[in-house]
Symmetry: C2
Subunit: 396 residues, 2 copies
């Protein structure tokens, strides 16, 4: 992320702190080379070896308290106005800085709901509590999840442009896959074909390369979140692929569905067309219902109910998540009210959010139909950032 | 990491659990695509989206409790004997599994001392405590830091071979740098030269690309942990470079020092030679003192004292860290007894540990002299995995 974009995001964070009346946001980390708080890329732009405090205040101050050996680097990166280097322990400078601002509320990065607001490890949390032991600040810590959800969720025009660019490049690759798919090729063959293009073009993978892309062919396939296997494409298979790239720091995440025509077939069987169309329609219905202020579970329910009403099992996951610098971004989720999703399906959708919509259903005897589109929430509804798939792609 | 190596590490973990009399090791995670417990690569070999429990018992059982959508992937990865998929919440299956084994001690990944044993985020920790609320297991949780330190620190022959291979490839690149260095080139030019070789060869960077390599020229340079600048190499500069690659999953981390001869000079000035030699000698003295059972601070003190006795400032960091799948690996550290290093300098050194030795000193008016070697601890002392730099490299 460029220095310019980080400074923009810091400025946005200051606005959010004021809106939510939180005095200070403290990102406290160590050894980010081993485990990195997901907010570091967005508001700091470099790593830290020793215990380090990155502070943004409601008044617009930005302060980095870091190991002295990293002072020069922090100056070069240039994203924090004030840099306080320490030699032996972060404690004194951190307490002194807190005393100077005397914040009533200090947001730190822990959250039961959102992994992106949960970059503070438990050991480092214990260290922080110990540092603050004899100060009043120990009792003023709150979760940063509201800040993080707003900051990551409200995409700027620059961010949306970058996501759109990643989507465009991804759809070019999907088109190439349509030309590559053929009976006898394995899921692994398809994945390798895609990965080679990604490498040639110098893109990154939007998620773990082992299942990016994920490729699923036929009725016996795993269907989701699984690496490609030696299973071979056969005539009469429904194929789907889940794939995204990271390009200039922003991710795409899309799915498309194909059908491999059997000898003598000109069009797919009724059951296949019906399954595909139910998915396609459920996406349009869900997208039409998205408005700022709605809860994600309400949107999920529209697609879920429609699929079940048409005689299919409900999908075993949420309808959609936010996309941004990571494939699973943001706070608010278009998900059902299941325990595993915590409060995410209840967080109000906001203008500027970018969501996937990705229902799924099984077409018995053929395979799994999925389409994943990406939409951008505006004041009065959504704009599709991906041109939606309207017909099942046919392989002859 | 290959399935074979993961199974070997799991077997080693079982031995360590028995040695330390810990009944169960629970790695509890979610959304590893956003923030990943550093132990996942070593003992699981894939990621997890929803709350997931990866359990290794003293009796040698391995159990993965994961979101149902990831069951097929987990089977393909094949590193856990028992897979328990869940749909809506991990709670019931986790409690049931704990009741089945009824462990007295359950190690979880949090640690104030070691970032590698601190992959449990605070929010996920709170979730775990909530899940265990009405069970006795809530009171049986301990830190996994002893397990992690032993498991990461005791390298197998296979692991040492891979580190050695990464070192060999890195030293080839250092040799190329010697041919490239010349007055007028900037730190950034040198870094770009190195990064291009890394990309051509298909290696990964051992740490953040922005300061891998780190290049420092002359008396006014930052000296460490900082990205390369536009500062230009001049005659009379001491140059050092800190650089490592990741190759087949294992890292190198090395430093070398050069001197740029001035017009008419055949050899470096006395001060430069003295500075270089003090570094070189301090490494040999420290290396000679390393034995299983010693504490890291005792080793650090030998090099630190020698440098100070020779009239230089002490280095503002530890003498050396472990190297392995990450550049900063292991538990035990060759570091001073400073608060920021927690208990790491006190952990006994063990056979199988692989350490860097990397003292530093400033040669006033010339630059910073550093050498970083890598040694492998054996029962009776160390073996150098990197052929030590014995003379300062000269640039004409």
């Amino acid at each position: 992320m460029s220095k310019q974009m980080i400074l923009e995001k810091q400025q946005q964070a200051v606005e959010i702190l004021n809106e939510k009346n939180i005095d200070m946001w403290l990102t406290f980390v160590r050894e980010t080379g081993n485990i990195k708080d997901p907010m570091m890329d967005m508001i700091v732009g470099t790593g830290a070896t020793w215990h380090s405090a990155f502070i943004i205040t409601k008044t617009g101050e930005t302060i980095a308290i870091i190991g002295s050996l990293e002072e020069a680097n922090m100056k070069t990166v240039g994203t924090f106005k004030k840099i306080i280097p320490y030699l032996k322990s972060v404690k004194q400078d951190l307490i002194k800085t807190l005393e100077e601002f005397d914040p009533e509320k200090i947001a730190i990065n822990y959250s039961r709901n959102s992994s992106l607001a949960d970059g503070l490890t438990h050991g480092v949390y214990l260290e922080l509590i110990d540092i603050l032991e004899e100060t009043p600040y120990k009792f003023r810590l709150i979760s940063s999840e509201d800040i993080v959800a707003a900051l990551r969720g409200r995409k700027s025009q620059t961010e949306v442009d970058l996501i759109k660019k990643a989507i465009d490049e991804t759809l070019i690759i999907f088109d190439k896959v349509t030309g590559f798919l053929a009976p006898g090729k394995s899921e692994k063959d398809v994945a390798e074909f895609v990965r080679n293009i990604v490498r040639e073009k110098g893109f990154e993978f939007a998620w773990d390369e082992e299942h990016c892309p994920a490729v699923f062919t036929g009725p016996d396939t795993a269907g989701a979140h699984s690496g490609p296997t030696d299973r071979k494409i056969q005539r009469g298979h429904v194929i789907n692929m889940d794939f995204g790239i990271k390009y200039n720091g922003y991710c795409s995440d899309l799915q498309r569905t194909w059908y491999v025509l059997r000898e003598g077939e000109e069009t797919p069987p009724e059951e296949v067309l019906k399954g595909f169309n139910v998915i396609k329609e459920s996406i349009q219905m869900a997208a039409a219902a998205i408005k700022p202020g709605k809860a994600g579970w309400e949107i999920d329910k529209i697609a879920r109910d429609y699929i079940v009403e048409n005689g299919y099992d409900e999908y075993p996951h949420g309808l959609g998540h936010q996309v941004g610098r990571v494939a699973h971004d943001g706070g608010a989720l278009l998900g059902p009210r299941w325990e595993r999703y915590g409060n995410l399906p209840y967080i109000p959708i906001e203008a500027g959010n970018v969501f996937t919509i990705e229902p799924r259903l099984t077409i018995p005897g053929y395979g799994i139909a999925t389409i994943e589109e990406i939409v951008w929430v505006k004041d009065d509804g959504v704009e599709f950032l991906s041109p939606p798939q309207t017909e099942i792609y046919l392989i002859k």
